[in-house]
């Protein structure tokens, strides 16, 4: 799901605000006009995922045309539809309770729809041809009427923004190269910077560019500070960077240690059984919500298992030092002699593969000879 959405992020990103808009719009219509119309209306349209473009195009038609479409599908007269008949002159119907909000949303939708909806509007129309031929001749002319207006509106908006930026930059806008520099450096904002020179600061194009760049860097630094725990209190770029570097190095070290653990555990594991485990975890975690609950749940269950600890798995020593006190009582019955033996002997010859890992307890540096031991045994 994330994969597919990521792959299509270039397109779907523009649709998602539209789709949420259309969802809300649909709910509004639903609440106002009765529930029976909506399921009928949108059963005929292709499912949202496959034809997300056609869905938005369906509502990219003027909203009153969508209402007309719905009317066509449900021929049964009802007070709801009679009330809906008054919806057609959208702007002037006094019986429509949330008129203003719907109009505003309709205009916003139509603004979205003309750019995206016009190529899909034509494609949606043949795809929706399951018997709804009649509304289309009606809907198309008003749509084509509205289209030329709206691009003009957008162009005006563009021009006004350009004019705004130009006037604000004022006289210090000598030529094309500075324009290029402005366009280049604000790659993460709108192409035209609406910058008003602050009091006491130069409006020089160079300093403006530098200031914008510095602000970019500061924003990123702030983001990093939030990410790394304990960095918000530190002031000073160098110290914060120190902290960040330490944090990244510690995370990388933890990954190495965990990978060694996994390597040690791996040969013993039957993966088919664990597949069930994992899917069960995934299912439960998906039901439960965010990730932390999952890991906590796993760890808690593991702790319960410790009471039946056999001397087989010494890897626990590495991470569960604090639980040793609980478990030594259970251990001592059968494994103390073995424990001592292994510490004295140190190497793995003759002892079963698991117990040699007791040496792991001493230090992380012991892990390297440990892995070589594993290789010799296995």
């Amino acid at each position: 799901m994330a994969l597919s959405s990521g792959a299509g992020s270039g397109n779907s990103g523009t649709y998602t605000p539209e789709i949420t808009e259309t969802m809300r719009f649909e709910e509004e219509i639903q609440s106002l006009m009765g529930v029976n119309l909506i399921p009928l209306g949108f059963e005929c349209s292709p499912p949202v995922n496959a034809g997300s473009s056609s869905f938005t195009a369906l509502l990219g038609l003027q909203p009153n045309q969508a209402v007309e479409l719905l009317h066509e599908l449900d021929p049964a007269p009802s007070p709801a539809i009679a009330a809906g008949a008054s919806f057609r002159p959208f702007g002037c119907s006094p019986t429509f309770p949330s008129n203003a909000s719907l109009i505003e949303r309709a205009t916003r939708l139509s603004v979205f729809a003309t750019g995206d909806g016009s190529p899909e509007g034509s494609s949606a129309i043949p795809s929706n041809s399951e018997g709804d031929h009649s509304p289309y001749p009606k809907s198309e002319p008003p749509d084509s009427d509205s289209k030329p207006r709206r691009p003009a509106k957008r162009k005006d908006a563009d021009k006004s923004s350009k004019a705004k930026s130009l006037t604000k930059k004022g006289k210090c806008f000598p030529g094309d190269d500075d324009g290029d520099s402005f366009a280049n450096l604000d790659a993460d904002k709108l192409p035209y910077v609406h910058v008003r020179a602050r009091r006491g600061q130069a409006t020089d194009s160079h300093s403006l560019a530098e200031r914008a760049r510095r602000e970019k860097i500061n924003a990123r630094m702030k983001l990093l500070q939030e990410l790394v725990p304990g960095c918000s209190k530190i002031s000073g770029t160098a110290l914060v960077l120190d902290e960040i570097i330490n944090h990244v190095q510690s995370l990388q070290r933890q990954v190495e240690i965990l990978s060694m653990r996994l390597a040690a555990v791996n040969p013993r594991i039957d993966f088919t059984g664990l597949d069930n485990l994992f899917t069960a975890e995934c299912g439960r975690a998906a039901a439960a919500g965010p990730g932390p609950g999952w890991t906590d749940g796993v760890i808690r269950r593991n702790q319960q298992q410790h009471h039946h600890y056999e001397h087989q798995q010494p890897i626990w020593h590495v991470d569960h030092q604090q639980q040793q006190q609980q478990e030594t009582a259970g251990w001592e019955r059968d494994e103390t002699p073995l424990h001592h033996h292994v510490f004295i002997s140190g190497s793995s010859s003759g002892s079963p593969p698991g117990t040699s890992l007791f040496g792991y307890d001493s230090a992380a540096s012991a892990a390297l000879p440990l892995s070589s031991q594993l290789k010799s045994e296995i």
């Binding site: 799901m1 523009t14 908006a157 990244v248 933890q254 990978s259 039957d270 664990l274």
Partner: protein, 203 residues
Amino acid sequence: MISSPCSTSAAGRKKQRTYFRSPPESKWRSGSQQLIYGRRLFDALRAARSGGGRSAISSRDIKNAADSALALTAQAQTRWSRALLFGCCSRRKVLLKAAGKIRRRRPPRPARKFGGNASPEPTPMLKGKKVTDRLCVLSRIVPGCQKLSAPCLLEEAADYVAALELQVKTMRALADALCASSLSSPSRESAPSTAGACDEFAS
């Protein structure tokens, strides 16, 4: 992918390619990402094991598998993820260029005008030597970020940190689960009783 809410404003069709870089926390801390990564890691481990057969699985293999899984989960949209995925490949440069918009720097770097300064020293007046040193160190730590400009480097670092946290959390949980399942088996052999242990977990 979460796109920034200002992307489709009514102001019209501006260039939107940079709007899809969502903040790293929201991307990596969602539970779904953890599940996806966990699943992928698990599959990678299983593949590594079956590929290795009876030979020992070194920790380096596991680390590489985990990193590759992480980079895949990042969908190769960041530089570090691409470097992780293609780092072992011999035709790395071609793949990197094809996969992303990495600008290749020739050693005698032509002096660019301001507007996307590519060297690690963006504003020599503002940042002292210490900061540039730290930035160099950071660029060495984060894979694939050599000779990157400061804002890009910081952005990559933020994404990398979030991804690493996810990786550590998932690997720890996986290791614990694996240990617990093999632990609960009374006999030395794990095969017959693992299924029983899993039923316990599943219930």
